[in-house]
Subunit: 205 residues, 4 copies
């Protein structure tokens, strides 16, 4: 497979983005399927049936935020790309395979039993997805697919921004077995940390 | 994250639209899943099984109209945009999270028990979605992302068009607890009111 | 809402197409959900469980062909368009609402009981969808949204191509109550008839 | 239907790609639905419930790789196209109908009973999908839709790359009845073989 330029081969470059956006849109929408009222709901007063969806609603909100964060970060990645090659297209398949697992991990999380294993599974999935994203960035950097080569301070910041979620999510997988649902605080910590790094990056440019 | 121009950064601007359109397309399509014949349908004559989907079919039609209205209104919003920034991309995640909840609220509505709480929930969801849309418009206005700054009469009309669904849907959530299914008339009232405001706006331009 | 040109407002024109393509893609994909093996499948030998999906597989093939035909015909319609206005966007919402009903009608058809009512329902849905498509063409013609105004022989051919599915599908709804599953022959007749009209049209141009 | 050029009729050419990408994105995402924990999961410890999804997780990974491979190969096909005509649009409907069957074949495979018939079905589906892809390439070649006509060595290589999956997947369907799950090795063999052919092709150009 060749190498496709953002401007000269807009259809080929575009499909890389369209497939990804499609998967994100569907993953986001599938999250809601897990909210369906329990089958015996007809027998319960509606207020009580809704109350029972509580933990699943919590898992839904977390997952919308998580999928959204991965989308924003993929958007930033593509904004740095000038070209896409066969290797990057190929790497995006396992990345998307991990993204579509998020609704599954969410449904495990929302079962409501609150077992630490469910949180560990979710954290591990987020860790692996972050690794897949880092591999794509690394490939693009190595093959000269970026608009401007990363250099010096910028490059180190980019490594930090890629590494933080790997460390945070990865370690959360192990920690979850000990601290259970409190591990969610680790996942949420990604936003303030990334915001600080993004501000540093903008100042550097 | 940077700021992406409609013409100069067409891929980046486009993804903001593609993700949204994807979510709208899937939300629209998921609405039909709720129509599935009841499991014991095989035991019933088909005509009777279909008759029992009556309330769910009603909820389906309402929801197609509601999702369609939000799509048309988002289309109009984007038509006013020259640029999209990281903030607007970020704000669209909770907005889309609310849009994908519509099939869930529809399934609650279509359970057929006709409890006022189901209508209140649906109305509240529409109210929150309208607020999220208004926040996106406000952000775009404040950050100078619009093609032409809104001024004077135009701006007041735009505020009215944004505020009407918030007030109408929001108040319907409370009212539903009192008047039950009649609250649908409030939801439907949005079309003639918006049509009048749109006509005023076109005359003003 | 304004009027959006294919070239000057490519984002706005494009969303009309993207939403539609998204709904077609999802409707096409949802068709497969109905094929799921019966729950008691685990208890049956696989060959027997598969054999029981026979009527549902037949309904799946019919539906892929039907959704595909509507896609091709919508593609031809858009190829004739220079502009899209708010009215056409609005009309596409009920059209898409009818398209997403096809997987539902398919699941009714595939229940396997072979009741004539299921065929009548399916035929009626196809008839209404064809009417919605005809209304969109009529609107585009009236508001001058077409690239070249239809005239004389061409226009009459276009009316014929729009009218044939309405008559064929519409009448099939009634006939199904009498002749049952044979009505499928009516649905299939659309391809040779349309091919002849398309050939006539190409010769006329 | 006319003939649409990649550059001059970008909307019409684009829809051919958008519909396909949409179906690929949804097929990829539907694969995860099959992973849902068994209904009696609430009664089991989570670790045990997860362990029971083992065979289905294996089927999920195979299917992500398979759908991804077909996507990459369709991407390469479109990169060779200058134009799309009504015939190619029409041929893509049965092709997409086969793609959406993959989640169904996966669910049959993942039932866990490990019957050879399930592997034969999956292999046969991959064989038919490869044939549909070959027919599209053949049509494009015959009607002069390719950017550059295939000639000599290049053409023979392209035939080989198209033929390998047909032979490999097709023969796997029969073999599965004898060797059962070992047939997966045949499916996996497609990657090294195609990589060699792709390298030869690149050298030839």
């Amino acid at each position: 497979m060749g190498c496709y330029d953002r401007d000269a081969d807009s259809v080929e470059f575009g499909r890389f983005v369209t497939l990804t956006d499609g998967v994100f849109a569907i993953a986001l929408t599938l999250l809601v399927l897990d909210l369906a009222l329990p089958e015996q709901a007809a027998a319960l007063p509606l207020a009580q049936a809704l109350a029972e969806t509580g933990p699943r609603f919590f898992a839904f909100v977390i997952s919308v935020a998580v999928v959204g964060t991965f989308f924003l970060s993929h958007h930033e990645f593509v904004a740095m790309l000038q070209k896409v090659d066969g290797g990057l297209l190929g790497l995006s398949i396992p990345y998307l395979g991990l993204i579509v697992l998020i609704p599954f991990a969410q449904s495990v999380l929302g079962e409501g039993s609150g077992e630490p294993l469910a949180f560990a599974l979710y954290g591990a999935l987020l860790g692996f997805t972050s690794i897949a994203a880092a591999v794509m960035l690394w490939h693009a950097h190595r093959r000269g697919l970026l608009r401007e080569p990363l250099t010096g301070f910028e490059a180190r910041l980019e490594v930090a921004r890629t590494g933080v979620p790997i460390v945070l999510f990865g370690s959360s997988a192990g920690l979850a077995l000990v601290i259970g649902e409190w591990v969610v605080l680790f996942w949420v910590a990604i936003w303030p940390i990334d915001a600080v790094l993004a501000r540093l990056e903008r100042r550097a440019v």
